[in-house]
Amino acid sequence: MALPLVYHWRNVFVRPTTTTLTILVVAAVVGLLGWILGFAAALRGSLAVASDTHKIIVIRRGSTSEGTSALPPAEFNKLSQVTGVARDPQTGRPLVSPEMTVQVALPRKRDAGRTTANVAVRGVDPERAFAVHRNVRLQGPVFATGAQEIIVGVKAAEQFAGLRLGDVVNLGFGNDRGYRVVGYFTADGGPLESEIWGYLPSLMNAYSRNAYSSAALRVAPDEDPQKVIEQIEGPAIQLTAKTEAAYWHEQLRLVRGYLVIVTGLVLIMSVAAVCSIANTMFSAVAGRTREIAMLRTIGFGRGRILVGFVLEAVLLALLGGGLGCGLCLAWLQFVGRTKDMLGASSFTTLAFEIRLTPMIAAVALAAVVLVGALGALVPAWRAARVQAVSALREG
């Protein structure tokens, strides 16, 4: 017969102070863990664009990102020699999209505009861009080619001020051309959602540029993207080409580094939580030696006692975990759920939205169960080895 759960549940509350203090330690660690897992999930979401293996980004050789690349039309036109590029089913034109990337400093909503972020502005030709960037889906109309209009990625719209429908954003080299926001777009959670898109010729004119920044290219479904990349990097064209996955993987280097640092810190703190739980459980076992001896006497086996005490610690940890998740939710709700970081070399910002999904909460709680069990293992072992007779005889 196993010890009834209610026995442990009540025991958790026998020492309210100690229990509360332990729960709070666990809660603090879990709260942080929830935030980090949420951030990691947002980062993974950004990299989900990697699933589209047939999109290739072409930049000028020697440059490190779209932001520092300049691709004059003459260079861009060389891309027409590339074989294996998908074609538009109606017009038969190859799906190569010329693009220009610039940036505009927009105030962050998070700190009420005290600081600004460099938001990428991408000039595209709608006829080609949407066929190449298949993950981009419009919510509302697209910008008109004849007017100064832009569409905004949903993440940018959430995090930066002045991007509501109908707002006018000043762009152009002298910041003197007003572009009106007419619609939003999504990109499967990818980095493009942090951008602003407008009509390529209009934006090139506004920034007095005569070169594109980059090109995006769709590889035909039955062709090997690697072969296409080799052609573009080969002697005839001499440009740099990367699959979109590789490109963003590189740009997210800083973000990954940041995550590694934070995760390391939380790991260190969870060891502290394990120790704290162990301490509490040792004390619980020591204080209940006679009680345990009694249980042994009336027929509970060692295994049951061991499992029982581990269970008690897990209960304790789960209480802390639940509180921690609650704290994390409250923090995200009331303090802020957004974070943005610069790409490694693009000089434009990537916005992330941190969410504590049920899945993440479940992972955090699973971690907490592990922490509780680890902390309780040795004390529970000690409890299981209590010598009934001598313990009962003791004062």
């Binding site: 330690v25 940036q103 152009g172 070169a211 973000v255 120790c275 610069l342």
Partner: protein, 389 residues
């Protein structure tokens, strides 16, 4: 029976608990001292930069837009008597990297005549200034870059630019700037860049930023207003900010480590306070009768209070030391270049951070021990002796 004897005996009685508490205390404290080192490093850098009284003037729209070279003269004319500004140094982003590597250095082409004045913190000697002005290919690099690539004064080095028109240029190092707050800095002469561009028919004019060295803080504030007003409603409007504000923008953009460090430090203090408090509550509860015996033997209430409180403090200090020592050792032994975050200074071992962590440990120890100690002070001997633990 001295106090220290009682303390030691008490800590040794439940070695397991002392050990677990010390570890639970030490690990977060290690995080704390690291976070504090980082923050102290940033604060020191920013205090140093404030001393330099440099005002950065860049294009209002974006740092990637160049300002015309003529802005320098117009800024200088704001104060022809030089009562408020010392000198103006125009800089153009080169974005160079060592061929074959991926890391972009903070390489900037700077006005040769004013760099030694505006960046007096480089501390160029007379001989070095003469060399800087004579040698067109002269370059000054921060210690971080020099160590990473194994460069020495006198070396010839090649950088290729990662921005249009992607030129390769050769430089000769005349000075390694070891104390640079930004370890990836690389300065060279702007007239050299201009010549190189013009020889190939490329446009090399335009500056990313003008650094204005001011006489004092009041002059900096007034110039900041006047410069932005001067260029308002022109095609090239400016935004002026002091060097700290300029750097803060980047710090925020690459992940805002200082705020992360502050948040971590707060959580850590909470955790260690809870851990220590927990232990002290447990030890106290188990030892109520013993403390009552002390009192019955004639120990004064004050002394019993001190025994409980100092045990907590001792444990907290032990835990802190255990956490701080490995970090101190690590930061001393690992070359700081390995701990660098982007182009910013690595966390720096500072006695301020160590002292700060120890005092936090001390405060936590006192706070955690105070309640049990207070209860011990008010303990009624007869009640406690009668109580069954």
């Amino acid at each position: 029976m001295t106090l220290s004897y009682v303390l030691l005996q008490n800590l040794r009685r439940n070695r397991l608990r002392t050990g677990l508490t010390a570890v639970a205390f030490a690990l977060p404290m290690a995080v704390f001292v690291l976070a504090l080192s980082l923050v102290v490093g940033f604060v020191k850098t920013s205090a140093a930069l404030e001393q330099e009284l440099r005002l950065g003037v860049h294009h209002r729209v974006s740092l990637t837009n160049f300002l015309p070279d003529g802005h320098r003269r117009k800024i200088e004319e704001l104060d022809p008597q030089r009562t408020r500004l010392r000198a103006v140094c125009g800089m153009r982003w080169f974005g160079g990297r060592v061929p074959g590597t991926q890391q972009t250095l903070q390489s900037l082409a700077a006005d040769a005549d004013t760099l030694p004045i505006v960046y007096s913190d480089i501390g160029l000697t007379e001989a070095e200034i003469t060399e800087w002005q004579r040698e067109r290919r002269a370059a000054i690099v921060a210690g971080g870059v020099a160590r990473q690539y194994g460069w020495k004064v006198g070396d010839r080095v090649v950088l290729e630019s990662t921005i249009p028109p992607y030129r390769q240029l050769e430089f000769r190092l005349i000075r390694i700037w070891d104390e640079s707050p930004f370890p990836m800095t690389f300065y060279f002469r702007r007239d050299y860049l201009l010549d190189a561009f013009e020889r190939e028919g490329q446009v090399g004019t335009g500056c990313s930023i003008f650094w204005v060295k001011c006489v004092d803080a009041a002059a900096l504030r007034s110039l900041q207003q006047e410069i932005d007003a001067l260029f308002a409603n022109t095609p090239d409007e400016t935004r002026s900010e002091d060097e700290n504000a300029f750097v803060a923008g980047f710090v925020q953009a690459v992940g805002d480590l200082p705020s992360l460090a502050q948040a971590m430090a707060t959580v850590v203090v909470i955790i260690v306070a809870l851990v220590a408090g927990n232990t002290m509550m447990m030890s106290f509860r188990e030892r109520i009768r013993e403390l009552a015996v002390f009192k019955a033997l004639g120990f004064s209430a004050r002394r019993v209070f001190l025994i409980v409180l100092s045990e907590s403090v001792l444990l907290a200090l032990l835990g802190s030391a255990l956490g701080i020592l490995p970090i101190v050792a690590g930061l001393t032994l690992i070359p700081p270049d390995h701990l660098r975050w982007g182009a910013f200074s690595p966390p720096e071992l500072s006695w301020l951070a160590v002292l700060g962590s120890l005092s936090i440990g001390l405060i936590v120890g006192i706070a955690a021990g105070f309640w049990p100690a207070w209860q011990a002070l008010r303990l009624r001997t007869t009640d406690a002796l009668r109580r069954v633990a």
